[in-house]
Assembly symmetry: C2
Homo-oligomer: 327 residues x 2
């Protein structure tokens, strides 16, 4: 048996433990394909995201963090639809099959999967430059998926948690050289271990009129939502939930830049009709993260950021992962 | 809009044309995730396969052939479950976004997708070393998926079509140097454009007791089926459907080696209980490919190939794609 068959068997045995009471997974890892069941009252939600070394993460990223991250970014997509995650497949391309690396990667991935009751149902392990593609499946009640195009003028614009911390963490990593103590900092942890807002996303189905997750930067992702909905927005810099640790380390101006144009936050950005905002506040009071009302949708297509009433210009150089640094 | 956003838009516009009458696809390309519907009388079948340049295909493989191939290998997995293909996602990693390359790739992929009524519902395009991961979704009636573990002693062992031609085509490509006329040969075409046995696979649900597709070589893949089922086999070299053009070009001995240990045929290998063999023959008489009965399952775990009654030793060096040539 070659090393890749061993890796597949390794995943299969780890996963088997968590499969005992999964009636929705009829056939998991090990056949030509997986077989699953979804109840007739649900629609299926399917997302796929690839992480490539040198583009989405730097060489030497801890295997545990990468295992967490490849699942987290896909969970975030499912969350942004207001859906409940169910199953995933893993396509892992490895330059060499170091057992220790795969062990740590799988712990990172499966720990997060188990936390969200997500079953790893299949995959493909191949040799090549390091890259991971996860396809995540979830469910929603028919018609309940929250799309990008549902916002109308006069609705509140919200974001979960705090934005910019991941980009600040990345900046620390890139400037760290060999200072490994930095890897322990909260900001770097925020970059390495994004927290997908799965429970919050599900709770927002029925509340939010449109939703997107913040992967490429708040301004870019919000602009996508607004364009898809055919509305503009008036937004307030002072309402931005910037991160206190980022301000402390980089100053307020740079923290705002990270918040607007950085990426990898994996917070949810969404719109809520005026009549549902009180219901949102009550729901969010029980969440593990705060929410911030950063502005309102308006007719037209203009997106206007203001700081204390004065126009604020956002750099349109959106965060492009590591493309500048890529070989 | 950056080049990758342009590629996504390019796929979305091409795909939109074929989506008009797809009630099962509620949301396709363009949101955080796709939303689909599957009727309550079906189970969902999910397969994923990655093709990496240098491992699964050589540098310079025509973009059209690669687009065809990445879909074909996944359709073959769905076929090997006896399922009907429905939707796919595409994760495409590209070193640079040449519009012409993407155009030819998309034509190769979408032509095959349309032929099988498969909807491209989502994906992710990123920068990095050339690699393609497709995740394919299909459906079967509850309990009707044909697994690898259903064979019992005394059952016929069959294979669709002819085996070894793809490996012969690969050998031609590898020895071709700059002789581009070779790319027109039937054998090279067989390697570049595998034909997934989708209709045959569906017809085999209810007939075959176990099934697998031949991706790594007939002997290796059949051994997987036999091991999963806990049976052995007696097999006949003279019943092997080797390819006439392969014999003509490489001689009979090498043609048999290609047939047993070559890969990339994407034929179906399956077992059928004795009482269903007549029904199989009647069904197969209408198929576009032949079937061959190459042996029988037996008790135990021995896999014995015989040629005119004498033991025939199969090299256990299974086909490992291009790993030897990979950087």
């Amino acid at each position: 048996m070659d090393e890749f068959a061993l890796i597949d068997r390794f995943f299969a045995s780890r996963v088997a433990d968590s499969m005992h009471d999964r009636e929705d997974v009829r056939v998991g890892i090990g056949d030509d394909a997986a077989v699953t069941h979804i109840d007739s009252g649900s629609e299926l939600v399917i997302a796929t995201d690839t992480l490539v070394e040198g583009t989405h993460f730097i060489a030497g990223t801890p295997a545990h963090a990468l295992g967490h991250r490849c699942l987290a970014v896909n969970l975030s997509d499912i969350a942004a639809m207001g859906a409940e995650p169910l199953w995933c497949t893993l396509a892992l391309t490895l330059p060499e099959g170091s057992a220790d690396w795969v062990d740590r990667f799988s712990v990172g991935l499966l720990t997060l999967a188990n936390a969200h009751d997500v079953a790893l149902i299949g995959g493909d392990t191949t040799r090549g430059p390091l890259s991971v593609t996860v396809t995540m499946h979830g469910r929603v009640a028919p018609g309940a998926a929250v799309l990008r195009d549902g916002a109308a003028p006069g609705q509140g614009i919200y974001v979960t948690g705090r934005v910019g911390g991941a980009a600040a963490g990345l900046a620390l990593v890139q400037g760290a050289n060999d200072d490994m103590t930095l890897l322990q900092s909260d900001l770097v942890r925020r970059f390495l271990y994004p927290v997908p807002r799965v429970a919050e996303g599900r709770a927002l189905s029925g509340l939010a009129s449109a939703m997107i997750d913040v992967s490429d930067g708040l301004n870019v992702d919000l602009s996508r939502l607004l364009r898809a909905s055919g509305v503009g927005a008036e937004l307030s810099i002072e309402s931005l939930p910037i991160d206190a640790k980022t301000v402390e380390r980089f100053g307020r101006v740079r923290a705002i830049d990270f918040a607007l144009s950085g990426g990898d936050d994996y917070e949810l950005c969404f719109t809520v009709p005026a009549e549902a905002e009180e219901r949102l506040r009550r729901a969010a009071s029980t969440w593990s993260c705060e929410i911030s009302r950063i502005g309102e949708t308006v007719s037209g297509s203009d997106i206007a950021w203001r700081e204390h009433g004065r126009a604020f210009s956002v750099s349109d150089s959106s965060f492009r992962h590591f493309e500048q640094e890529a070989p």
